[in-house]
């Protein structure tokens, strides 16, 4: 039973890979306007995962942004209560995003800041902004350009989880990196 399931899954994976390849051949640069990139660039993070920038000659078959192994796949940064300090665990992810932006100057992102529901709404709006601002500052130091990063804060208005306890609040204190 489990073997059969495994087979189906890997078969699906093969099929998916194939069709992806075909699309790639027919339309080499449709996903994003990244053609201004002259060279293939490799980005290495601490975990050893590799991220690739794409260009017309790319042979990797997918954008590094779509690689689940890449540090670029980390799109949410969580924060402590009432703090805009970025935990060191996100360093590699922020480095990877900054490097990606630096290598893809026409790519823009939105950093969406959020807060948990505790305390006042307007203060939380400012707190969400200051979290997004903190992420932006790190990305700028690491090579991204200011014009590539848009900030928006929703404060506590768009919780990821609707609950009223610490486990929900943890999920809600965040900055989302949106490409």
């Amino acid at each position: 039973m489990s073997i059969r399931l495994l087979l189906v899954v890997s078969l699906a994976g093969l099929l998916f890979g194939c069709s992806n390849e075909q699309v790639k051949e027919e339309e080499p640069v449709t996903v994003e306007d990244l053609s201004s990139n002259a060279a293939n660039v490799n980005v290495t993070d601490e975990s050893g995962a590799q991220a690739y920038g794409t260009d017309d000659n790319s042979t990797s078959g997918f954008d590094a942004l779509d690689d689940p192994q890449s540090a670029l796949s980390i799109r949410i940064i969580y924060f402590e209560y009432n703090s805009n300090e970025i935990s060191s665990e996100y360093r590699s992810a922020i480095e990877a995003h900054a490097a990606y932006l630096s290598q893809n100057p026409s790519t823009t992102i939105t950093l969406e800041g959020h807060a948990d529901e505790r305390g006042s709404r307007e203060y939380n709006l400012a707190l969400g902004e200051s979290r997004a601002q903190a992420v932006k500052q790190q990305m700028l130091i690491l090579g991204a350009s200011s014009s590539q990063i848009r900030l928006v804060s929703y404060g506590e208005e768009r919780p990821a989880i609707d609950g009223h306890d610490e486990s929900s609040w943890q999920q809600n204190r965040r900055v989302e990196i949106l490409y």
């Binding site: 505790r118 006042s120 307007e122 203060y123 601002q133 208005e157 009223h164």
Partner: protein, 431 residues
């Protein structure tokens, strides 16, 4: 782009609900020494038909829910006079009743109404107040609230705030999508009107001093922006949509300017905007969070929340700029200041060991009195007479509104019949 804009406008409905109580107000705690009063059912000139409004019950409910009065049950009334001369003082004295209200509703020849009433001190055997008020049919509810205001002022010593309105935000899930509404209602929860509906968040409603406009924050453009809307016509104006945060509008006492929070210059700072030409004056300069400005009643100062000392605390600054002065020192979290109408205190959100409560900061000595005891209270707003603070609290049913007297003794729960309700702002005295 144009199509998108039109779609956006179409999704913002301007709807008006008919007169019905959306808020159900209950007193959860009252004070022991409430004043006994009897409200005698009003006489009605067309006795063969039903009166167009039950003035008696509106006034009774106003007084009862204020927590300051003990209104006699109608069944216990010893007599039902509607003229001063027919009051049998002895009967009322025997029951220990101190004050009674009598009155009449008359239909005039022109088809309008006239309400006359007398507030009578039973022990001294004399009239405390007597008025005759002409009214169009749709203003009769307001007349009842005005009578409650007069009774309150005569017997409690400060103006009543029954003839006022409250603005608030509701959030309902309809087909799994959130609908945010900006609404206003009479202070007793009746006559709720939707001023704006949006799929995106709305917050921070703020009344103009003349009670005719409301400034608020809307995310309909995928970022915070400040609008000013005329309540009567529904017309609105986008006044602030800079990059970054546009939030926390608060009107100057003369109605000509808005204090607001913008982050266009890097991080959140307090500004003052002149409404006629939209010119901006920057008030704060600090790398930390500065937000939630509240205009002092004198118009000379702003109180605001800043985390420049590490956590959120309240600061005061002159409207001409200069160095802000920290004014809250108790506790690690004080935010969302609003001056009392007399300018002597500030209501705020005050955290006590992980719970967020409504407090009153005494500006004379810096002490903070905690008025509430729930876990997630926020958004306090003074009644224009300074007697009560309305605020939002999160309970098992989601967000609800509650009110507490500034001495902390009277607690009311204002239960919305469905959905979340939040961000209450008590409007000014109506003129």
């Amino acid at each position: 782009m144009k199509v998108l804009f039109k779609l956006m406008i179409a999704s913002l409905l301007l709807v008006s609900l008919q007169a019905q109580a959306v808020l159900d107000i209950k007193i959860t705690q009252g004070i022991e020494q409430s004043l006994p009063i009897a409200i005698v059912p009003f006489g009605w000139s067309q006795a063969s038909s039903v009166a167009p409004i039950d003035l008696t019950s509106i006034i009774s409910n106003d007084l009862q829910r204020s927590g300051r009065f003990d209104v006699m049950d109608e069944a216990d009334l010893p007599q039902r006079p509607s003229e001063y001369d027919s009051i049998n003082f002895g009967d009322w004295r025997k029951l220990g009743m101190e004050n009674i209200l009598i009155g009449k509703l008359n239909l005039t020849d022109a088809g309008d109404y006239e309400v006359s009433f007398r507030l009578v001190d039973i022990y001294r055997g004399k009239q405390i107040a007597g008025f005759r008020i002409p009214a169009k049919p749709d203003l009769l509810r307001r007349v009842a609230h005005q009578i409650s205001d007069i009774i309150f002022e005569k017997l409690v010593g400060i103006p009543g705030a029954f003839d006022t309105r409250v603005a608030y935000i509701t959030v309902n899930k309809i087909k799994n999508k959130k609908v945010h509404s900006l609404q206003i209602a009479d202070a007793d929860g009746y006559n709720a009107q939707i001023l704006l509906e949006s799929a995106e968040p709305l917050l921070s409603p703020s009344w103009s001093p003349d009670g005719k406009k409301i400034a608020y924050v809307s995310f309909e453009g995928k970022n915070s922006a400040i609008y000013v809307q005329n309540i009567l016509t529904g017309q609105r104006e986008l006044v602030s949509s800079f990059a970054g945060i546009n939030s926390s509008p608060d009107w100057s006492p003369d109605g000509s300017r808005l204090a607001l929070t913008l982050s266009k210059d890097g991080n959140t700072e307090i500004y003052i905007m002149s409404l006629n030409d939209k010119s901006l004056q920057r008030i704060t300069r600090h790398g930390g969070i500065d937000t939630e400005p509240s205009w002092s009643p004198s118009g000379q100062k702003l109180a605001f929340t800043s985390d420049r000392s590490g956590g959120p605390q309240i600061y005061e600054v002159s409207v001409n700029g200069g160095d802000p002065k920290r004014i809250s020192f108790e506790g690690k979290y004080n935010a969302r200041p609003e001056y009392s109408p007399d300018g002597k205190s500030i209501t705020l959100v005050h955290a006590v060991s992980g719970s967020y409560r409504i407090g009153i900061l005494n500006l004379a000595n810096g002490s903070i009195d905690v008025l509430t005891d729930a876990r997630l209270d926020e958004s306090p707003s003074f009644a224009p007479n300074g007697g009560m603070v309305i605020y939002a609290t999160t309970g098992v049913r989601g967000g609800q509104l509650a009110a507490v007297s500034t001495d902390g003794r009277i607690h009311q729960r204002l239960g919305l019949q469905q959905g979340d309700v939040r961000e209450p702002a008590w409007g000014p005295f109506l003129k």
